[in-house]
């Protein structure tokens, strides 16, 4: 089902009702108003100690009402979709009109976009009894991988989110956004030492996600590289060359570049890239993309949360800063088209510029030759959380596993070290880009004010120098 009336029915609202709320929202002189109706169901199953012994489901339902006056925002929401309650929220949001400011054109294309994540098997029609065997299969396959495994924890979660968006231009958009995620952690013990390894997968797709093949893939990845973890050392810290392996290293782009390219930080002058539009910020040949159009990808957006069509945005083209990531406010302020990056955690939050799937396109270098060119450095294999200081451009990410590089060869395994660098310097110091772009399909979540699902990707790259934590 994918038609306007279906979504109007979900929220028990008519088009006349939508117009009435918008009229109330603009009654004190706002320039623009929009409504974001959301109905989300969440479901989870948790396996511990060999049993799926907890689980549950959760529902969330409401409407967020935004009024803009210039670039200023009034925002309120209601969890009760009774018309009186929605009009009260519209009135609260309308108060921003007293802030003054000029009228801006927030209009954007809402052209019909392809279905990026159709569900073949709707999660809402799939109960626990159909999903439980998958988790038990994962546990069995993981445990069989390594006799040193003493604990396996697994979590299967899914959500289905229906959204209906309407704004004062009369644009109406709607979407159903599924998400399925599986996370597995295993604890290993060997000769009095403990290690742990976590693996996750997350896609915007229905229950067709779960399969024996996925269980096999996860089990193999959990066990892979665990010997190195037990042997891993802390390297001597300091500045050195860093080779970022393909895939999860995309978090480097997310932190070092993506956040600093979000247009709200630039509009406010806070980003270190605020005055660099059109300048060469990376070596020639480097292309960095934020993409909402990857089918079934965790960061895919058929429409963003302002009703703007999903797009593929070249932030850096041939090394030149080409575009910020815009919502309607920043696009109007800069006089450009929105890029479909206006996203929010749920109806309780106003949309702000956020990333989707952020990656660097493949270059020409052979990954093994990139490593061979390094005399002394670190090869980053698996990493986790990152962070950035927007003004200074200082970013960090945490390396869960990797290797020392000595005279062009991977030698001793390393683990649990943080790496820190400065965004513009790191980008300018990219010496080689591999031909092996890989999108990482883990459960990446970005936490800028609100949590939103994202993904990242990277080919193997060599950065001339970053600061590596160590003994």
């Amino acid at each position: 089902m994918n038609c306007k009336n279906h979504y109007l029915d979900i929220f028990n609202i008519t088009e006349a009702g939508l117009k009435e709320i918008i009229a109330k929202a603009l009654s004190r002189g706002g320039d623009f108003a929009d409504l974001y109706f959301e109905y989300t169901t969440f479901f989870n199953l948790n396996l511990k100690d060999g049993t799926v012994s907890s689980g549950g489901f959760h529902t969330d339902y409401g409407v967020g009402i935004r009024v803009l006056k210039g670039e200023k925002t009034g925002y309120a929401y209601s969890e009760n979709l009774d018309m009186r309650e929605m009009l009260k929220a519209a009135d609260a949001a309308s108060a921003i009109a007293q802030a003054g400011g000029s009228s801006l054109p927030y209009r954007a294309g809402t052209a019909c976009t392809p279905a990026l994540y159709p569900m073949r098997k709707n999660w809402r029609d799939t109960d626990a009894s159909a999903l439980l065997p998958f988790l038990l299969d994962v546990e069995k396959k993981v445990t069989a991988q390594d006799s040193r495994i003493v604990k396996v924890m697994a979590r299967l979660s899914n959500s289905v989110c229906d959204v209906l968006m309407y704004n004062s231009f009369g644009e109406i958009t709607y979407d159903t956004r599924p998400m399925g995620s599986i996370s597995v952690t295993a604890v290993f013990q060997h000769e009095g030492k403990s290690e742990n390894k976590s693996v996750s997968r997350s896609f915007r797709m229905g229950a067709e996600l779960i399969s024996g093949a996925l269980a096999d893939e996860i089990a193999a990845e959990v066990a892979e590289g665990i010997d190195e973890r037990f042997e891993a050392i802390r390297p001597k810290g300091g500045q050195m060359a860093v080779v970022m392996g393909a895939g999860p290293s995309g978090v480097l782009l997310h932190e070092a570049m993506g956040h600093a390219f979000e247009a709200d930080f630039n509009r406010k002058g806070q980003s270190i890239f605020s005055d660099k539009m059109g300048q060469q910020i990376c070596p020639k040949g480097v292309n960095v993309v934020d993409d909402g159009t990857l089918e079934f990808n965790r960061g895919a957006c058929r429409y963003d949360d302002e009703g703007v069509a999903g797009q593929k945005t070249y932030m850096v083209a041939d090394g030149v800063l080409n575009s910020y990531l815009h919502d309607r406010i920043s696009a109007a302020w800069y006089g450009v088209e929105p890029t479909g990056n206006g996203r929010r955690e749920n109806f309780r939050y106003n949309p702000i510029p956020r990333m989707r799937a952020t990656y660097m396109e493949s270059g020409n270098a052979d990954p093994s030759s990139i490593i061979a060119d390094v005399r002394q450095g670190i090869y980053v294999k698996e990493l986790s959380n990152g962070q950035v200081k927007i003004g200074e451009g200082d970013f960090t990410f945490f390396v869960k596993s990797g290797f020392l590089i000595e005279d062009g060869r991977l030698t001793a395994p390393v683990k649990d070290i943080n790496i820190i660098g400065n965004g513009p310097e790191a980008l300018a110091n990219i010496l080689a880009v591999g031909n092996d772009l890989k999108i990482d399909n883990g459960t990446w979540t970005c936490g800028k004010e609100q949590s939103v699902a994202v993904s990242c990707g990277m080919p193997t790259i060599l950065v001339k120098s970053l600061t590596v934590g160590g003994e």
Binding site: G56, K72, Y75, A128, L132, G393, F398, N418
Partner: protein, 456 residues
């Protein structure tokens, strides 16, 4: 706030669930509201009004367990929701360790939600004009731009002032009923400056208090500016080992992984570097961590945990010895040990100066005292990313702050990392102050360690 008819709805959920197959049930009904005003560069940028409601159900059915939530509180919808929830629980695996806490352990005196003095009725008299007035008063944008410095200029100033409440009721099928209500008056400012060479630096400051008359947002933005300006002119520093002082505004970052490791969920799943540490001295002599959950009028206080179990003041770590794990009913049954409370409420790190006697009750140890005590090293005023391996306690964090020499700050540092193991770090504790921020839920003062590995 939660109304009488909503309490009846919560009670009805219990009786309906137990009348339709649940052996036991717990319900948590929560309502909250927040009004906030955001300023950008001296002008109003955003006003927000938010009111939330939710009901969480914890169902125990035939030795099985599930958790469910919704924000639809209409009775007929809830009944349908509960029936579906019971059906789902029946599909799960059996786990006899899932049960409600022993009723003798649950709190009996949290009836009004206001017993700990965390709710200020002044919130009800507050209106949008007064909030706007406070938000405008926070901004220093116009003053600073009129008297601008020769060393820097302000690029942006963001200020937020908010007023909120959180009201929750927990009821279970064994007769427990508890209510917890708190208000919050909060403010936050972030200022970004640019020096004459084009480098940007940002600083922030914040505070929150349950009482309106205790909230003083006037200096917030100026403190954020001072913190930004103080970072101008960082100097490179070599890798090596040094003494590290951590400012009270960020010191809880080094306590959090210790408390996580004392939690039953981590211990039961062998995901804790403090597995087997109960009753053992694993940290330095000077590490004394108390939990003070019943301090009236102070953020973090609560009379019962999420299961309804009574909280009490108790030592967590005494003279480096682990005195308490945080074990809920489920993990206690799984581990075959006595339950305690689910987690720490208001952990307080006690003052300490290595090799110095501190008299009880009359001590004051400031950040300045600690810098003097340590003489030389790095003062950490912010963390930038990093993580801890929960199984080994190995950590690596990005830091920023200042080098200090002879007890005085000399210059800012940035793009540095600290790396080590939490047990080693806390065994190298040499000082803990008395300057924990009064409004913080966690009372962690400025602290100092020796022999910390810095990378640059």
């Amino acid at each position: 706030m939660i109304q009488a008819h909503e309490i009846e709805i919560a009670r009805h959920c219990i009786s309906f669930a137990c009348g339709n197959g649940a052996d036991n049930a717990r319900v948590n009904l929560n309502k909250s509201s927040i009004d906030s005003c955001n300023m950008l560069n001296g002008e109003l940028d955003k006003v927000t009004h938010a009111a939330d409601r939710s009901i969480y159900l914890y169902l125990y059915v035939d030795g099985k367990y599930g958790t469910f939530s919704t924000n639809m509180l209409e009775k007929d919808k809830l009944e349908d929701f509960i029936l579906k929830a019971i059906d789902m629980v029946r599909m799960l695996g059996e786990d006899q360790c899932r049960k409600l806490p022993d009723p003798s352990r649950t709190e009996r005196n949290a009836r009004t939600g206001r017993e700990l003095g965390l709710y200020d009725e002044a919130l009800e008299q507050s209106d949008s004009d007064s909030r706007l007035g406070r938000a405008y008063a926070m901004s220093i944008w116009n003053d600073e731009n009129a008297n601008h410095s020769e060393e820097y200029h302000i690029i942006s100033e963001e200020c937020e002032y908010s007023e909120s409440y959180d009201d929750s009721i927990t009821i279970d099928s064994q007769g427990f009923e508890g209510r917890h209500t708190e208000s919050a008056f909060s403010f936050f400012a972030e200022v970004t400056v640019q020096d004459n060479e084009g480098n940007r630096y940002s600083g922030y400051w914040w505070d929150t208090t349950p009482r309106k008359d205790a909230a003083d947002p006037a200096e917030c933005s100026r403190k954020a500016l001072e913190r930004a300006v103080a970072q101008i002119g960082p100097q490179p520093r070599r890798s090596g080992r040094a003494r590290m002082v951590v400012d009270s505004s960020v010191a809880s970052r080094l306590v959090a992984p210790v408390l996580n490791a004392l939690n039953g969920s981590a211990l039961q799943q062998k995901m804790s570097f403090l597995d087997g540490a109960l009753g053992h001295k694993v940290f330095g002599e000077g590490m004394n961590l108390m939990d003070h959950p019943r301090t009236e009028g102070r953020n973090g206080s609560r009379m019962y945990d999420s299961e309804g179990v009574s909280t009490k003041d108790a030592p967590v770590i005494k003279d480096g010895v682990v005195c308490q794990y945080f074990i809920n009913t489920y993990n206690a049954a799984k581990m075959g040990i006595e339950p305690t409370v689910e987690d720490a409420s208001r952990p307080c790190l006690m003052p300490y100066l290595k090799d110095k006697e501190l008299a009880d009750g009359e001590i004051s140890v400031s950040l300045r005292d600690i810098l003097q005590f340590c003489r030389n090293g790095i003062l950490v005023t912010g963390f930038n990313g990093g993580n801890t391996n929960p199984v080994t306690g190995d950590f690596s964090f990005g830091i920023e702050g200042f080098a200090f020499s002879k007890g005085k700050i000399t210059h800012p540092v940035r793009e540095m990392l600290i790396t080590g193991n939490l047990k080693d770090l806390w065994n190298n504790l040499i000082a803990a102050g008395t300057d924990a921020r009064p409004s913080s839920r966690w009372q962690i003062p400025s602290i100092a360690f020796e022999n910390v590995s810095f990378s640059a």
